[in-house]
């Protein structure tokens, strides 16, 4: 039922797969996510749905190989079957006609902003996209973003591609130049916090998406709790989209930090070395150099 029918390596560690999922494809809306369980009795991975092709019955998922589970998913070849996919989960993004919208994302979150950009443009907004990453190698989906946005701004932190700087800096400049009606931001906590503070001063609507350690996806385990308006909410049940001006970012930062540390051990160096030519030799010689 959940067969991988296409696979693509987008950037370093970032892969894209198209999976057959007839139950999900007709129901999923932009901003919703699914939980992928690659093998029976294996770990659960929450991933946002990038695209749904109703003719081919497939959904598109993009993920970064950051741990054991995502690495395993990345190793699955075309034609292999995923054990199960739960979803669509979470609430869809609020899509209305606002006017001029800035969509900002950095790092892996570029994948999550793409469906939102598409939907906002379809609703008749002028979409200004801002994407960024640490280096050029980590920028992906640039062509798709150019199609989905009216204008796209790029930034890398080490100036290896486009302009140097952080996404929040670019957004700040855009807010000064244009009459922006709404800002949509997905990314690390610091970036969402800076952008929310900027827009709060100018009283611009801000929506952010919070993916803080989602585990069961149905509102049972309380692992994805965050604080909105002094009330504890769950990303999977009440979110993942929240009003940026109401989210308690200090609380969120502690939760995200906790999630990052609890992730599974990163003991995948050997498997990764085997993938590239001459990688194993490089790794072994590296060990000898250290000793």
């Amino acid at each position: 039922m959940y067969r991988i029918i296409n696979k693509q390596i987008l950037a370093s560690d970032i892969k894209r797969i198209d999976v057959e999922a007839p139950l999900i494809v007709n129901k999923v809306l932009p901003g919703q996510f699914v939980i992928v369980i690659p093998e029976e009795k294996g770990s659960w991975i929450p991933l946002s749905v990038i695209d749904a092709d109703k003719r081919k019955n497939t959904i598109t998922l993009i993920f970064k190989e950051s741990g054991e589970a995502t690495f395993h998913l990345g190793m699955m070849p075309i034609g292999d079957t995923i054990f199960s996919i739960l979803g669509p989960l979470g609430n869809p993004a609020t899509i209305e006609k606002y006017g001029v919208v800035v969509c900002a994302a950095s790092g892996v979150a570029i994948a999550s902003i793409l469906p939102v950009c598409r939907a906002l443009k379809e609703a008749g907004n002028k979409v200004l996209g801002v994407i960024g990453a640490k280096t050029k190698r980590e920028i992906f989906l640039e062509a798709q973003m150019r199609l989905a946005c009216n204008q796209l701004f790029l930034a890398t932190e080490d100036a290896s591609y486009a302009r140097k700087g952080k996404v929040s800096k670019v957004v700040e400049e855009l807010l000064g130049k244009e009459q922006v009606d709404m800002v949509y931001a997905i990314g690390p906590v610091d970036m969402m916090k800076t952008i929310s503070q900027l827009t709060k001063e100018e009283n611009i609507k801000t929506r952010i998406q919070v993916y803080s350690n989602i585990h069961c996806g149905m509102g049972l385990c309380g692992s994805c709790r965050s604080k909105v308006e002094k009330k504890e909410v769950l990303s999977c049940l009440h979110g993942p989209e929240f009003d940026g001006h109401k989210v308690d970012f200090d609380y969120l930062k502690v939760r995200m930090n906790a999630a990052a540390k609890c992730r599974q051990p990163k003991d995948i160096s050997v498997a990764r070395a085997l993938q590239e030519p001459g990688g194993l030799v490089k790794m072994i010689s590296g060990i000898f150099k250290e000793t």
Partner: protein
């Protein structure tokens, strides 16, 4: 005369593996114990059983060791013989007439024997003729599946929608392997599937399947049995720190992962010194899971020791395995370090006192007795909230003050037409058996409703 104790795994072995602790009666002890039943003409045990199982009936069959016929007798009233033989709180034993004289008959263990040994020989049921109206049951927990089984028996076509990947609800995800193996749950569910139940996994009601679609597909009634909601956010400062988990997260992980993955993921997630806040069965289960992963665990509870857990023998097992009980200590605050992780738990001693001198003794904090427990992980097991998903699905549905669904006492119908409810949505049940009884009641009520309707 005392009730014979079931065989158990020895402490040294069982505190290192996730296999079942209690191993049940042998055939010889079963037959001896079954002969102890006086076969009352008006059995109090049958009245006490929420499901109304014919207890003297199946015990009479076990006198000769006939597990198969005994199981068939039990299955007239309950399809969860294997589950109930393990985790039931056994109100039947408390009401047995031998309870006061010497010791109650070990009904729970006898039921378990019938299930374990009769199941292998159980031939396929004669599938009931299915031509009746179509009914959708939402949720495959104890109440949903029990309702489905009884509706199937009456000839209805039943489809069960389950949002997770395995059926069983709390029986699968909420009870760890060493108390109730998942293979036993699957066996019991297999006998319901044999009746003709169509269980659709990974299909969420409201998202994958909507009410309008069900109506288009000619479903006549919908029975909501989604159980209770998520973890209750214990009102304690510092609950957002890293290293604070809710019991549900730990129990789900223990049940869905392989043993190697449990050791890798949970072993890394949980620190070495763990405090479990709460006194329910979930708290006890979590503590015993942590012991099996080689951690030091203490259960922190403001009351006395005999309030912890639901079944006294489980508490004894936990004690033997090395779970510490930090009783008469009320948690005040979770302390965190600069990285945002747990560094300790501030508690205060409690004691019974009579401050007014009027004779009403109560638990109050002892002055100046605050102390800090040196722990690096906290597991909160403070119970469940009411289900929020229902009000998101049906904003107009009527609710009681506590947030539970308002249903008609007799017909189990909610305020919306053709929608019925059972289980924890209607009443906060403490025991799984009560939820099963609620499912059975709903099935009978649905039958009455659909018979009168053309």
């Amino acid at each position: 005369m005392i009730q014979p104790a079931p065989r158990i795994q020895i402490v040294k072995k069982r505190s290192k593996n996730f296999q079942e602790v209690s191993l049940g009666y042998s055939k010889k002890i079963t037959m001896e114990e079954a002969r102890r039943c006086p076969q009352c003409s008006e059995p109090a045990c049958r009245e006490a059983c929420p499901l109304g199982i014919d207890i003297p009936g199946f015990i009479r069959l076990l006198r000769e060791g006939d597990a198969l016929k005994a199981l068939e007798k039990i299955q007239l009233d309950s399809y969860f013989a294997g589950v109930c033989g393990r985790i039931c709180h056994a109100p039947c034993e408390a009401s047995c007439i031998l309870f006061k004289e010497s010791a109650a008959v070990g009904i729970k263990q006898l039921e378990r024997f019938a299930s374990d040994h009769g199941r292998k020989k159980l031939s396929l049921f004669k599938k009931p003729h299915q031509a009746g109206k179509k009914i959708a049951v939402i949720g495959s927990g104890p109440s949903g599946l029990t309702a489905a089984a009884f509706l199937l028996k009456m000839g209805y076509q039943v489809t069960v929608f389950e949002s997770f990947i395995y059926p069983g609800g709390v029986l699968f995800y909420g009870v760890p392997e060493f108390r109730l193996p998942n293979s036993v749950v699957n066996q019991d569910i297999a006998s319901i599937k044999d009746l003709g139940a169509d269980i659709r996994l990974a299909t969420q009601f409201g998202k994958n399947v909507t009410l309008e679609e069900l109506k288009q597909q000619d479903y006549r009634a919908v029975l909501l049995a989604m159980g209770s909601g998520g973890a209750y956010f214990f009102n304690i400062p510092g609950a957002h720190f890293g290293g604070v988990y809710f019991a549900e997260e730990i129990l789900i992980e223990v049940n869905v992962y392989t043993h190697a993955l449990i050791k890798r993921i949970l072993g890394k997630k949980l620190g070495q010194h763990i405090a479990v806040l709460g006194a329910g069965q979930a708290a006890l289960d979590c503590a015993r899971v942590c012991v099996r992963l080689g951690k030091t665990v203490s259960i922190v509870h403001h009351g006395t020791e005999d309030e912890i857990g639901l079944l006294p023998d489980e508490r004894e097992f936990a004690k033997e395995e090395g779970v510490r009980f930090e009783v008469l200590a009320n948690p005040l605050e979770i302390m965190g370090n600069n990285d945002g992780f747990v560094s300790g738990l501030k508690c205060v001693r409690m004691d019974y006192a009579d401050p007014d001198g009027k004779g009403d003794w109560a638990l109050i904090p002892v002055p100046d007795s605050e102390f800090i427990l040196d722990v690096d992980t906290i597991i909160i097991a403070a119970g469940h909230k009411v289900n929020e998903a229902v009000s998101l699905l049906f904003p107009k549905i009527k609710k009681t003050k506590r947030g539970l669904l308002k249903v008609d006492e007799k017909s189990q119908a909610t305020s919306l037409p053709e929608i019925f409810a059972a289980g924890d949505l209607v009443e906060a049940h403490k025991y799984a058996v009560e939820a099963m009884a609620s499912g059975k009641k709903a099935a009978l009520a649905l039958d009455g409703y659909l018979k009168n309707k053309v």
